[in-house]
């Protein structure tokens, strides 16, 4: 078992320490080859005594700045975590509405990836914009947020509206001319590879936070489907490449989520399900036997392998319900009119901590709110 490592490049960040060791011990040779045994059973050069190794290790440790001490060093990595401590550290990101929070068991969990699936016009972007603001609230994650968007253009008008209502609903927090926009970062992404590069560049930013700003505690990707749906063709080799990229992106996100306590929210589009017998796209994933929206049966884009990359999946649906027919019969106010209304619902498709549930919500000028019925 031999892995070849290039000495530089962002993908080798993990091995930073080890490459340094290699430089000390093996000054010659164009390529570093580590056997896994060497790396992890820590078979050091035979002429190194234990004490020498120890002092080397200690100096290395001391040289590391305190902010990067959270990076995995083998000494801490190999110890199990205390779950009781874990419990108190775990935070939820509030959605800004107590009803929706209750439906999700306290909000969007940090340290994991949550996917929002819906057809266009159901409020994915609305909800994710809202999260950018609520992430700053002091009883929640109290961090800044990063918004990576691939569906253009950036919704400035809606953003300004939400900003206004958020400021007016939290006047004390944003007195002293503190601007919530100072803690929201946006970045456009054009392709899936671009997204991966942006994410890899992010690491140094997360490791060395600026003192004047809050730590990044929320990453929103809106939407993942747009990045993948154009770039890859529907043949075996491309699909394989595509799913390898899914897992790569997801693993980087999960690593950040774990190491820095970040909540990751990814939106995804849906595709129509034309025929049940058509391949495996009709296979049931999660609690809902079929996902229905606007009278059509849909399934999330990007298929089964992407479903393996997220921790929880939420589905936003809408359908038209007829209300006020009875009123129309009883009184003359409605005449023969039928009062139609959009009924929007949030479903938990799957989540490791939640059973299936659904909750009705409405989209208002001030944001997305749950309805208690």
């Amino acid at each position: 078992m031999v892995i070849k490592l290039k000495p530089q490049g962002p993908r080798c960040k993990k091995f930073e320490f080890w490459t340094k060791v290699a430089k000390v011990t093996k000054p010659q040779g164009p390529k570093w080859q580590f056997t896994l045994n060497k790396l992890y059973k820590a078979k050091w050069p035979a002429n190194w005594s234990d004490s020498k190794l120890k002092t080397f290790w200690e100096t290395k440790k001391n040289k590391q700045s305190p902010s990067s001490s959270s990076s995995p060093s083998t000494s801490t990595q190999m110890q199990p975590e205390n779950l009781l401590l874990h419990h108190t550290h775990h935070h939820h990101l509030s959605l800004g509405c107590p009803i929706l929070d209750a439906a999700l068991g306290g909000g969007i969990p940090s340290n994991s990836i949550t996917e929002l699936v819906s057809e266009s016009g159901c409020g994915k972007t609305q909800l994710s914009l809202q999260l950018l603001f609520t992430a700053q609230l002091p009883h929640g994650l109290s961090g800044s947020s990063l918004y990576l968007y691939s569906e253009f253009p950036f919704p400035y008008r809606r953003f300004a509206q939400l900003l206004h209502s958020f400021r007016s609903s939290h006047p004390i927090l944003f007195a002293n001319y503190r601007d919530p926009c100072d803690h929201i970062f946006t970045r456009d992404c054009h392709t899936a590879h671009h997204l991966l590069d942006v994410l890899l560049q992010l690491e140094s930013r997360l490791k060395h936070p600026k003192e004047t700003r809050l730590d990044i505690k929320l990453i929103v990707i809106d939407s993942i489907a747009a990045l993948f749906r154009s770039e890859f063709e529907n043949n075996g080799a491309d699909l394989k490449k595509r799913s390898a990229l899914f897992f790569k992106i997801s693993s980087v996100l999960k690593m950040y989520a774990k190491r820095f306590g970040i909540a990751v929210v990814i939106t995804n589009q849906v595709v129509d399900l034309v025929d049940d017998s058509e391949g495996v796209s009709g296979v049931q994933v999660g609690n809902l036997e079929g996902m229905w929206t606007s009278g059509r049966r849909v399934c999330p884009a990007l298929g089964l392998s992407w479903a393996n990359c997220v921790n929880s999946r939420l589905f936003l649906s809408r359908r038209e319900v007829i209300e006020g027919v009875e009123n129309g019969l009883q009184g003359d106010d409605y005449g023969g009119f039928v009062n139609r209304r959009q009924r929007r619902e949030l479903h938990v498709v799957f989540a490791p901590h939640l059973p299936y549930s659904s909750c009705e919500y409405v989209i208002r000028k001030e944001g997305v709110f749950g309805v208690d019925r």
């Binding site: 009781l84 774990k258 036997e289 089964l304 901590h353 059973p355």
Partner: protein, 347 residues
Amino acid sequence: MEVLRLPLSASQKGKLISAGYTSIASLSSVSPSHLALELKVSETEALEILKSVSDGSRLQSTSSSFTIVNGAQSAWDMLQEEETSVHITTSCADLDSILGGGISCKEVTEIGGVPGIGKTQLGIQLAVNVQIPYDYGGVGGKAIYIDTEGSFMVERALQIAEACSADMAEYSRLHHKGPQACEVKTMQPKDFLENIFYFRVCSYTEQIALTNYLDKFITEHKDVKVVIIDSITFHFRQDFDDMALRTRILSGMALNLMKLARKFGLAVVVLNQVTTKYADGQFHLALALGDSWSHSSTNRIILHWNGNERYAYIDKSPSLRSASAPYSVTPKGIRPSDSNNKRIKHV
């Protein structure tokens, strides 16, 4: 029996005796290479000597525990061991009955299914159930939980532990009426969490390192009775250009896990994802990591949807018949399916 009576040449007997091997028992646990070194003979000759020793001992004694290779067992021993082997309950009676009492220790069990079917739930349930003390018919061990996907939620584990603790209290109330009830200590939900060793793994190198390290860790914590890997797949589905390397790493890891299971008598539960496979002109579902991986586990259970119910199906097992049984995921954890009619299907 003495070395002198073995069918060996005089010079070989002389060498054996001068090296201090006078009885056959003293030769029973010597490796050929060691013997060759000590007698200063070739390795093939040493092998010949050991062969005749084993032949001789077989003639003399019928006792099966007397073997030449260290650690070898006869099938009879294994059968007896099998009968005393322990199982970890899944908290679902139907599932336990098709599994012959639960997830069996000393074996590697692979569990696969689509996202949201309850793989992680089953993993957490097992991590909790392994801690049920002997007095309550459990194993009374601890659990190692290796999380590669970040799906382990402490709040959920606490919920399941609370339900398990409540069930135990109920059980002791029913079975130990009177003063005995106080004697059996009930476990608090927090105790359950303390006994789960949780490792979060962020890359495949860490995963390999951890599996190598487990041996040492379990030697220090002998009461670990289950190792759960959720999931084995995640880090191996990204960026592997060299598929042969992946296969080698995976089979190395599988060997490691099997060794752990046998050495410490613990259950290894490996969760796997589902992927689509193209064969015979159409796509169908299969467990991830390919065909060579499918040899790596002793038992293989596939979780799937059947209408609105969750089913577990035994896909592969050397000792169990292939069968399927319904189960459900409730707020309390894995529980029997709520419909009354019995629906265990033997295929």
